[in-house]
Amino acid sequence: MLKRFAGWTLAAPATLVVAVFLILPVAATIATTFAEPGGVFSPYIAFFNSGFRRNVLWRTLQISLATTAISLVIGFFAAYVVARAPGRLKSILIIAAVFPLLTGVVVRSFAWLIILGKNGILNNTLTGLGLIAEPLSMLYTQGAVIVAMVYLFVPLMILTLVGVLENIPEDVIQASSSLGASPAATFRQVIFPLAVPGLIVGAVLVFTGSFTAYATPQLLGGERQMVMGTLMYQRAMVAFDWVGASTIAAIMVVITITVVLAMSRVARRLNPMAT
């Protein structure tokens, strides 16, 4: 009895903060979207009737799913190398992976402006080598946004996966090879399934991060590559369309939750231990 009471007391401050500063505002924001004179679902009908907004949603999904998929692949192999590296090299590799996180999102996105610009490093190198005659326009494309976001999120993925891969006992891998599994078979049947819980956590982090990203798509995508985050900002701060912005927020919450649930379903199929 006392123990239960103590538990609740300890959790109370955090619960209160979450309730007051997260749940209430989100509930209030979403509630306004159902109180329009045009009907309960009228803002949502309006959103999905607009070809432009449907495009923005579709583009955001494409960008964030591509970012998640590419980060998963790059992050997994990088983490695999880090996890198998000997002691000192491992620390150096982890520091190298985390280093970009020490600067802000805006700074890191800005770096890509310099790399990908008309007179940027990449264009100058390519023209200097004679590979292209005219500078390519790489900025303000979907590709630019994806590249920058992958760069942004890979460290997160690596950190998540190194922990998971390190926890796979060496003798389990040896057991697999002693039973006749080639390195490729061991990877497919043992290492990968055991890494699934980590892959899902990483994928959820990267997906929610890139789906809701604002600064990177704003800087590298601009008006031409508008995504849900930048669209919401524009509705709220430029057009003062608060209900429209709230509608976008509500749709983003629903999509994020749906994707997270779908991913944990996949995880359970690949590895019955994953929850």
């Binding site: 003798d171 389990v172 040896q174 090879s177 002693s178 039973l179 006749g180 599994a181 080639s182």
Partner: protein, 353 residues
Amino acid sequence: MTQPLAIDNLTAHYGTTRVLEDLSLSVAAGELVSLLGASGCGKTTTLRLVAGFLEPTAGTITLGGRDLTKLPAYRRDIGLVFQNYALFPHLTVLDNVGFGLKQRGVAGAEREKRARAMLERVGLATLADRLPGALSGGQKQRVALARALVIEPPLLMFDEPLSNLDAKLRVDMRVEIRQLQRANGTTSVYVTHDQEEAFSISDRVAIMHAGRIMQFDTPEVLYQKPANAFVARFVGFENLIAMRVVARDGANVTAEAAGGARLILSQERMGPIPDAFVLACRADGLAVSKDAGAAGLPATLGLRTYLGRAYQYQCESPAGHLVANGALSTPLEPGVAASLVPVAEQCCVLGVE
């Protein structure tokens, strides 16, 4: 199916440290051989070399005429049972056991049939659909055993398979392992630091120390006729007394220990005795006699402890500190001067190293 294993002149290094030195060992088809020694003696290294997880610096490993030395682990076809079981945590018991069959291309239905039959043999048929996380230590080790046996390997290797189990289960499991191994007639290498376990389960035991085999023989020979001081100490000879022969009279030899005490030893009962030798006696092989003048080593008795079958005395003698057992009928007090008489059948003669 069953094949002999030959290890020839194997040397291995970790970095620049040599952990195995010119080790040779042969295991006959169907035989169970234990590698016994303290941690760091090279027994696990030997197992890892045979399994293919380590590369030797020199030497060859041959299994039934097949040279394994350069083969990757997954082509060696060796069943391994690990200390920590090393079950696949994401696979059911049935899939764990079927894993090796799957790698060998055995189709689904046949694979399940064979895996279930093997689970039946280790008494786990009812747990086929559980995940390893839901099993006890003993059950996990049975699954590991079934998983290694089901592929019918020509060689089975055990790496301290029982050290994570409690004492009672350990004894039951080693009997079970021995019975399964006998029934299948699989050549086996068993690594352990537990002397009782090694002696009870093995046809022959290799006692290892500092990357070398000190003696390789049947448990009976190791226990009664150790070849050197290291093995003698290892198998429980508490007393190693350096002696030299001062007179020979036919089969009888008069030998002197440090401090001048003399013993008359019979070569008929103890085997040939060289001029300089070490007399190895267990505490049981050194009888305590109240009669200080008896034909033994004079000693002053120290601490007495009760063993149930005898009293054990810590003794001080000119030949050094000795441990001897005395009869329960005549407990003696510390400080008493006594004579310690070697019992020929329970002592052995070692060469000087």
